[in-house]
Structure formats: C-alpha cells, structure tokens
C-alpha cells in the first residue's frame, strides 16, 4: 500500500478532482444570483409597463386591465404634455446623432493621426466630461449660455449643445479604440496610389470605421434619450421638456398611468432602434471578418470600456 503513494507525484490531484465535481454547486449558486439580479433589475420596469394598462388612475394599485392610457382621451397620444415630450426626446436624439457622430469621428481621426502638440490637450479636453459629474457640466454650460454666449438661447439649441458635449467623449473613446487597430499605413498607401486626402478618408478610413461609426450612433442615441440633467438645465419652458424631464417632474405627483405609457413608448422605440442598429453592427463586423480575417477582436463595441480608454 505504501508503494502506491509514490506513484502519484501530485498528491493534490485527487482533491482537485473532488473539488471539480463539487464545483457545480458553487456554479449553480452563482448562476442563481445572476438570475436574481436580472429579475431585480428588469421586473420593476415590466411592472411599470403593466401599470400602463391599469384600469384606473393609480400607478401603484392594480385595478384591472384596460387600454385607456394607450388609446383613451387621457392617453399618451392625446395628452399634449406626453406626446410633445416624446417627440421632443426623439428630435433631440436625432439631432444629437447627426452632430455628435461626424464631429466625434473626425475629431478621433485627428487625435489618433495628428503628430503634433495639439493632439494631447485636445484629447484631454474631449474626454474631460467623463470625469466631471454631469451636474457640474450642466451648470458650467448653463452659465456659458446665459452669461457669455447670449446668442444661444436656452431650449432646443442649448439642449443639443449640452447633449453633444456630454456624449462626445463616448464617441471619441469608441472610435479611437477602433482606429488603434487600423494602421495609418492604409491611408498613406491610398495616397501613394494617387488618392486625395479626402479620397483616402472616404474610401479607406470611413469603410474601416463603419462598425465604430454605427456603434457611436447607437450609443449617442441611447445616451441622448436617457439624458436628464443637461437636458433639464438647458431647457427653457415646458415646450422643451423631454420624457425624462416629464418623469422627473410628475412621478411624485398624481400623474395617471399615461406617464408609465409615455415612458414605455420611448423605451420600446429605443430598444427597437438600438436593437436594429446592433444587428446591422453584427453584420458589418461579420462581413469584415471575412475580408480581413486577422483583424484583432477589438472590443470597440457598445462602449464597455467607456471611461477606461480615456487614460
């Protein structure tokens, strides 16, 4: 019997295999925790959705099913405050995407390709809003607009400026992550072959940046729709209320379930738009894997590294 111990040089090995067999329980506990987390994180929203179908004025007591807050006279689509806010939210998000993406992407190209002193301070300034609480940035922009740049009026123009400034760092982080994996030799080769700088940008860089541009657009849209603090500080009157502002202003009051419905309209549209965008993103990425098989799997996706890549 004593000889068999010498045969096995790793005495821990049986212990390890026992642990391996015991592991699933720990794994199940962890998986259970994740399921609980997902339920905790999503169930309240689903319940709020359910309450938009409440038969009655309450947002907390279930009084039976009805669609009055979706179709009736007091519904989202018939109360001016709600439908105006929904439209305003989407208007702001549309303009924010149209401004942030081109400005952010071209700024990122400059920041990652420019060999000169200007790139570093510009890069720091562009990502500074990441480390400033939104409230501070909102106040700063509010004072800028009301005390210095009087020609910019509070309301839609100021709200767009605020949102773009707030979202720009995310676009810069996403695009620079992608640019880091595209050698600058590609554009130089294009120019050596006779392309103009504009042609090199349009024919080489833009297609390669496609997924990053799309990801930027999705993230910009989602951040703009969700934004509250800056949109609130830059607003002028009830005419420039976005949905998060309406929720903030009426949640503690006696608003009807139409409030839930209005929030859900925006949420569902956002999920649809961003989901569709993500599918296109997947297709773009897959096509590229076929063309450039050795392309590094850069996590330039939906911004998991936002904030980290800034430094």
């Amino acid at each position: 019997m004593s000889g068999s111990g010498a045969v096995s040089p790793v005495p821990q090995s049986p212990t390890w295999s026992t642990r391996l067999r015991a592991r699933p329980w720990g794994g199940y506990a962890l998986a259970g925790f994740v399921v609980l987390y997902l339920v905790w994180s999503l169930a309240p929203v689903l319940i709020a959705f359910l309450f938009s179908f409440n038969h009655g004025n309450s947002r907390s007591v279930w009084q039976g099913f009805s669609t009055e807050w979706w179709t009736g006279p007091g519904s989202v689509f018939n109360v001016a405050m709600y439908h105006d806010a929904i439209l305003h939210s989407f208007l702001l998000a549309g303009i924010a995407v149209a401004v942030t993406v081109p400005v952010g992407v071209s700024l990122s190209v400059f920041l990652s390709r420019w060999r000169g002193a200007a790139a570093r301070p510009a890069g720091l300034l562009a990502t500074l809003p990441l480390v400033v609480p939104e409230l501070v940035l909102a106040l700063a922009l509010f004072f800028l607009v009301t005390k210095l740049l009087h020609f910019i009026s509070l309301g839609t123009p100021a709200q767009v400026i605020g949102q773009v400034t707030y979202i720009l760092p995310a676009v810069v982080v996403i695009t620079r992550g992608r640019l880091a994996s595209i050698p600058s030799g590609f554009e130089e080769a294009a120019m050596d072959l006779g392309a103009s700088p504009l042609g090199a940008f349009r024919l080489v860089l833009v297609p390669l940046l496609g997924p990053a541009i799309l990801a930027s657009a999705i993230v910009t849209f989602a951040l703009s729709i969700d934004d509250f603090v800056i949109t609130q500080y830059m607003s002028s009157s009830s005419a420039t209320q976005s949905i998060p502002m309406v929720i903030y202003n009426s949640t503690r009051g006696s608003a009807t379930p139409a409030l839930n419905a209005s929030a859900m309209v925006v949420a569902l549209c956002t999920i649809l738009i961003c989901g569709a965008g993500y599918l296109v993103y997947r297709i773009l990425n897959r096509r590229e894997e076929i063309v450039v098989p050795e392309a590094p799997a850069e996590p330039s996706g939906l911004g998991p590294a936002v904030g980290e890549g800034a430094w």
Partner: protein, 299 residues
C-alpha cells in the same frame, strides 16, 4: 503637406467644440464662483478677468461645508456615507454578476448580456418611476410585506418619505449596471489560462479566486467604482424621486437647489467648484494607477 492640412481640417470642428463647450464652459463656472453679485438684481456676475476674482462666494460655501461646524457639514457627511454604502452594494451585487458573465457563463452568455444591456436602453428615470410605484404606501412592496405577515398591526410603511435605506438602495439599483459594464469588460479581457495555471498548481476554486482572479480584477473594480462614484456625487434626481426630503439631501441636491434660484446661482457654482476640487483629489490615485496599468500594457 496637403494631408496634414486635411487632417487639421478634420480635427478643427471638434477642437473648437470642446474648447468652447468644455474649456470655456468650465471657465465660466469658475468665473461665476469667484464673481460678484449684481447690486440691483442680486444675480451672480461672472469675473472673467482673474485680477477681479474674489473668493467670498467660495469662502461662504466652504464655511458651510466646514467639517463638524459648518451648516452643510451634515449634508456632506451624509453624501459620503450614502455613496460609500452604495459603492459597497454595487461591488457586492455587481462583482458576482460580472464575474459569472465574463468567466463562467457558456451558452447562456448571449441572452444574459442582452438582458444585462436592457437597463441602458430603458431610461434611468423610467427605472426610478417603476420603483416609486412599487414603494408607494399602497404599492406592491407593502402588499408583499403584508402577505408575509411582516407588517401585522403596523401602518403601511411610507418608503418614499425621507428614508436613507430607500435612497441608498435606489442609488445601487440605478447605478449598478454602470459599475458592472467596465468590470465585465476588464474581466472578459483577462487571460483564462491564469485560472488553468492556478488550478494545475493545485489551488482550489476559492484560492484561485482570492489569489488570482481578485487581484487581476482590481483595475476593473476601480474603474467601475470611479465611473459610478462620479455621477453619484452630482446625483440629485434619484434622491428627489425616492425621498424628496431635506433629511436625506446630498451634495448634488444642495447644488441643484441653489441653481434653481436666480440669486443663489453663485453658491451653486461655488459648490460645484468645491466638488470638482474634492473629486480631483479622490481621483488622483486612480488616475495614477490607471496610467501605470496602461503603461504596462503598452510596453
């Protein structure tokens, strides 16, 4: 040469944008905080010229925030305590989730990630609105407590009237996805072979976790903590929705309240400047360790 000019032209709009709306805006904030008051309207007047700076507003807010004796010291203390507990909660809830999705999950990964991203597409305000409904005196939380017999004989609890528990839980609920995301990104990037090596060297699951996984996820935890701590310091809306009472007010609520009144906007600016100074101090160690980590990766 032409290429260089072209590149400059590409960068110009963005540079002008951030110079104007980041740099000048932050300067405007400072100029207000060191400015004076309009003698008639009593509204703040910015001091653009550093020679005209006056520290009186900053001093006024500084005195109010002064440790132990200041009138707003309680608010500051409360802010730090709430945020500390909320951050601990974010780590306790968020770490296992990020760890599981990044390292353990196999087939279920896609669906978990999709469900996990959902809160980002549903606005923060809607998620708070949902809880306000559940936590109302006649809401489902009290209903459940009643059914479980935990409230026998008591009045229905009013969760939404100045309870610290509610505010801290709402902060955790609101911000934990933002904590998990960078942590997940950092955990997903790390080399699984470290785990195999640790196992091959005889370490058990716990030992591997304590001596390999946890030290390697330090940077991710730190990044997540910074990403949620910064907005929490400026958060006034969570508090306003689930409490709305002065007894749970945080620094963000204070600044927001000042900003609502024309004549107190100078105090809001000074508060924001103090907050930025404090956050810069808190951020320095993180920036340094992050720079070191980046430098290591770059080598």
């Amino acid at each position: 040469m032409r290429a260089r000019r072209y590149l400059a032209a590409l960068g110009l709009p963005g540079i002008v944008w951030v110079a104007l709306f980041v740099a000048t805006a932050l300067y405007a904030l400072i100029a207000i905080s060191v400015g004076g008051l309009d003698p008639i309207l009593l509204t703040p007047v910015p001091a653009w010229n550093p020679l005209h700076w006056s520290a009186s507003t900053l001093q006024e807010v500084g005195t109010a925030l002064k440790p132990f004796s200041g009138s707003d010291w309680m608010v500051f203390q409360r802010t730090v305590i709430y945020i500390a507990i909320a951050l601990a909660g974010c780590i306790l809830v968020g770490y296992p989730v990020a760890y599981y999705v990044a390292i353990r999950a196999r087939r279920s990964k896609g669906i978990i990630l999709a469900l996990f991203v959902a809160p980002f597409l549903v606005s923060y305000m809607l998620r708070m609105l949902a809880w306000v409904g559940l936590l109302s005196p006649d809401g489902w939380i009290n209903l459940v407590l009643e059914h479980l017999g935990l409230m026998s004989g008591h009045q229905p609890l009013n969760w939404l009237s100045g309870r610290s528990v509610t505010v801290v839980c709402a902060l955790i609920y609101g911000w934990v996805p933002y904590f998990i995301l960078p942590l997940y990104a950092s955990l997903a990037r790390f080399d699984q072979r470290f785990l195999e090596a640790s196992r091959d060297l005889g370490a058990g699951t716990w030992q591997t976790f304590l001596h390999v996984t946890l030290p390697l996820s330090k940077q991710g935890i730190l990044a997540g903590t910074v990403i949620v701590a910064l907005p929490m310091f400026g958060d006034f809306f969570t508090n306003a929705l689930v409490s709305g009472t002065a007894s749970t007010a945080m620094v963000g609520s204070l600044i927001n309240t000042y900003a609502q009144s024309q004549t107190d906007q100078g105090l809001a600016a000074a508060g924001a400047v103090w907050l930025m100074a404090l956050l810069t101090l808190l951020l320095l160690p993180y920036l340094r360790s992050s720079a070191r980590a980046t430098a290591e990766v770059a080598r």
